[in-house]
């Protein structure tokens, strides 16, 4: 009996995925969601930046330089979360042959890469006042750099295969291999770092973070998360249009717009 109800549950889930997973339905759904996500992103960014740049007090050691944290830390978090999301989408597309998941994975990659790049750039800008130099082989920066290379490899593989189905499946395998490797790389770099520079200052080595700094940080993190969702909707919509460009509904849509 339990087996049957579980089966029914899975069937219902698959039906739901197929209902909203059809490119046309998702195109409409994402179109409705985009303005909501976009306005939420704006609201969170404006309030987070206001609180972070004016309301939060200067740090007693770092002065005002620490305020780059409100951009750097959310980007570093998002860079890793986007990689996991990309691997999950890619695996869903590969295992259950869901085309929408393939598109979502493909749309996530450049966003994740840009989060990683922003985290690297803001990290090195923060490094200048902290370490006196733009680049230190700090464990966090180094593993972020390797993550950036993983994103670049994923996008290069996607770009070099013309057939969308093969491109999606090949890069899905790469993403799964990558997501297994990310923690190994992360901890290897940490160990390598502690072996070589045991006394260096890490960016977030403060024992505790004050609530006045934590609130803007959380708001900015949510802001970047909704920014990701907004951009994911936009990119997925344009990718769907491109892939379905020969279907009737896209043709009708284009005709109704022009």
């Amino acid at each position: 009996m339990g087996k049957f109800s579980r089966l029914a549950c899975v069937t219902r889930l698959i039906k739901l995925i197929h209902k909203y997973g059809a490119p046309k339905r998702f195109y409409e759904l994402a179109g409705t969601l985009t303005p909501w996500f976009a306005s939420l992103t704006t609201l969170l960014f404006v309030s987070g930046l206001y609180l972070g740049l004016y309301w939060a007090p200067p740090d007693y050691q770092q002065g005002n330089a620490y305020r780059i944290m409100f951009v750097h830390v959310p980007n570093a978090w998002m860079s890793m979360m986007a990689y996991v999301a990309m691997a999950l989408f890619a695996a869903t597309g590969y295992i259950w042959n869901v085309r929408l998941a393939d598109i979502l994975a493909k749309a996530t990659a450049p966003l994740g890469a840009s989060f990683t790049l922003t985290a690297l750039v803001t990290g090195s800008l923060w490094g200048k006042p902290m370490w006196g130099t733009y680049w230190v082989w700090d464990a966090r920066l180094t593993s972020e750099l390797v993550l950036f290379f993983l994103y670049v490899g994923y996008m290069a593989l996607q770009a070099s295969i013309d057939d969308p189905r093969r491109a999606a499946h090949a890069s899905a395998i790469l993403a799964i291999v990558g997501v297994v490797n990310v923690p190994i790389i992360h901890y290897s770099v940490y160990w390598w770092h502690t072996l070589h520079q045991p006394a260096s200052l890490t960016l977030t080595s403060q024992p505790k973070i004050y609530i006045t700094m934590l609130i803007p940080l959380i708001i900015m993190s949510l802001g970047f998360m909704f920014f990701y969702l907004t951009m994911l909707c936009v990119r997925t919509r344009s990718e769907i249009l491109w892939r379905e460009r020969r279907t009737d509904w896209v043709r009708k849509l284009v005709e109704s717009r022009s």
Partner: protein, 227 residues
């Protein structure tokens, strides 16, 4: 059909050895690359023995890693072109076992000679004699891991434009843990840190992980590429 899977694996292994052996220029190319890259470093850094000794573990490991990456293109490419890879896919035996046999043969003719040649280059790079054993050991454990991991991008990029450069782009970030612990093991036994046992056992752990994971992933990749 004697011996089932193991018999088939042995047949693939022997065939690969034979095929690779008859195209021995490719094996030699990897070794000569290793030799030349290592020779370039003293020319760039200077012949000072003390400085060479400091960079020797890193240089030797990076050169070995690049030589392995270079040879990855030969792993599946010619079998893909002449169609024998499709025959392998149609065989009744699990593809991952066949791939493992192929990788093993490839390593015997690329990674193994590399490890055996390394003491010579170690002397060239002024590596202390006590560290040479660790160098050979770390390469013997590290290079099979590199070949196993590298088989996945090699299978993914079959018949793709710009395949050769793409393989390096995909595989080099994945190589970082092996490089870290391989070079660290050699540096440690050259007297710059802790004992090398910990690093070597981690290399062994990576090898075990790659052995169980990589053949499966690269056979999935082959199925995608030959679909």
């Amino acid at each position: 059909m004697t011996g089932g899977v193991l018999g088939a694996m042995r047949a693939v292994f022997v065939r690969e050895l034979l095929v690779f052996w008859r195209r021995s220029t490719e094996i030699m190319a990897g070794l000569v690359f290793f030799l030349i890259v290592t020779t370039l470093f003293p020319l760039a850094i200077g012949p000072e023995r003390r400085e060479l000794m400091l960079v020797a573990p890193g240089v030797l490991w990076v050169a070995a890693l690049l030589a392995t990456t270079l040879s990855l293109n030969h792993l599946f490419a010619s079998d893909y072109q002449d169609g024998s890879l499709e025959q392998l896919l149609m065989s009744p035996y699990p593809l991952s076992a066949m791939v493992l046999a192929k990788i093993a043969a490839h390593w015997v003719l690329t990674g193994l000679p590399l490890a055996l040649l390394s003491p010579l280059l170690a002397i060239q790079m002024a590596l202390p004699t006590k560290a040479i054993g660790t160098l050979v050991g770390s390469l013997l454990m590290g290079t099979p891991t590199l070949t196993l991991i590298g088989a996945i991008p090699a299978a993914l990029t079959l018949g793709v434009r710009g395949g050769g450069v793409l393989v390096s782009l995909l595989v080099l970030p994945l190589y970082t843990p092996v490089l870290i612990f391989g070079a660290e093991a050699v540096a440690a036994s050259a007297g710059q840190g802790f004992a090398s046992v910990a690093h070597l056992s981690l290399l062994g752990a990576f090898l075990a992980l790659a052995l169980s994971f990589a053949p499966w992933a690269s056979s999935a990749a082959l199925r995608v590429s030959l679909d």
